[in-house]
């Protein structure tokens, strides 16, 4: 079964969504990610959605949920690379993802994560 890979980079986890996100996949990612955070006691999670060019309200809510989950498990979460069309759609849907940190690309996202967890 299809799943989204979760890569470990030191004390951070990197999730790159490169396929069309469907509901089952999003739910599976949610389970996988929380398991991995527990296993690796990761301090930060970076979710790269630059390849995602279509979202619906469910996926939008899942993104917010996943970031909320990782935060509760004491891992800072940064969402990077959102496409303009996706951003506009989310705003129009009223999903403004309050409390979720964002960055333009993976590089800046990493920078932000390191700053957040207090490691230069």
């Amino acid at each position: 079964m299809e799943r989204i890979p979760i890569l470990q980079m030191g004390e951070f986890l990197l999730v790159t969504i490169q396929v069309d996100m469907h509901d089952q996949l999003a739910l599976r990612l949610q389970d996988d990610l929380t398991d991995r955070i527990e296993h690796t006691s990761a301090r930060g999670v970076l979710i790269d959605i630059s390849a995602l060019d279509m979202v619906d309200s469910f996926i939008g809510r899942m993104i917010a949920t996943i970031s909320g989950l990782s935060r509760i498990m004491d891992a800072e979460t940064v969402l990077v690379g959102m496409q303009p069309a996706v951003a506009i759609t989310l705003v129009e849907l009223g999903l403004t993802l309050p409390g979720v940190s964002t960055a333009l690309n993976v590089d800046r996202g990493m920078h932000l994560l390191r700053k957040r967890v207090g490691r230069p």
């Binding site: 959102m82 303009p84 989310l90 960055a103």
Partner: protein, 283 residues
Amino acid sequence: MAALQSSTLEAIVGNQAQLQRSWLEALEAKGAARNIREQDLRQETRDFLQLVIDGLGRESSTHIGAEGWEETRRFLEKLSASRAQVGQESHQTAFFIFALKGPLFDLLQAHYREQPALLAEQLWEISSLFDAFGLHTIRTYQKNREAVIKRQQEELLELSTPVVKLWEGVLALPLIGTLDSQRSQTVMESLLQRIVDTGSEIAIIDITGVPTVDTLVAQHLLKTVTAIRLMGADCIISGVRPQIAQTIVHLGLDLGTLTTKSNLADALKLALSRLGTTAGERV
């Protein structure tokens, strides 16, 4: 309703010169001939009369959508366009057609003096035909005008959303004019796209040129700011004039976490300090 009698057509053909003369006089009297050279007017009246005669000979129907009236319709469209160019209004163009009715009715009255029933019938036919001609010129005139307005609107929309790069990593969008839904959509899209293209971390939206900020405009601004934040960039609103600040507060609008500055210079200073550079440094 019976169609036009052939004797009506004959009467028109027989008195063509006389009709044109009276028509020109009527135009002159009403001042509809102003701004138009006499020679042109003479030519136009002659052409139109000829077209009507040809049309009546070809087409029994007085419905001007019919095929036989196509040339006449095209002539009227050209006439309407040329009148619009010299600055005449739509009703003046229509009057050009209606002025022919008077002389034509006189002619028919003389022609059918002995047959009042036939006279009424033929007058009605001719009248409805010319009304349709007049309305056609107005419709064409309106269509031309609307096309001009539409083109200008589109040009304005494109002109009014330039995204400029102020500094490495800082974009500015000076907004001028009222923000409606369509414009704010264009503004949002072009700004977000530029943020992706340039990888800029901070966008400054300058609203000095926006005359009024109401709830709708504020909502559009908030949407844009939220979308920018979702993409991972920061947004600063600058150029908030005292009146606008008062309006925003009086309306009870919640601008939330929006950073606002009174002018572009302050916004740029803030942007640079967030980026960790100062204006003196070379980036």
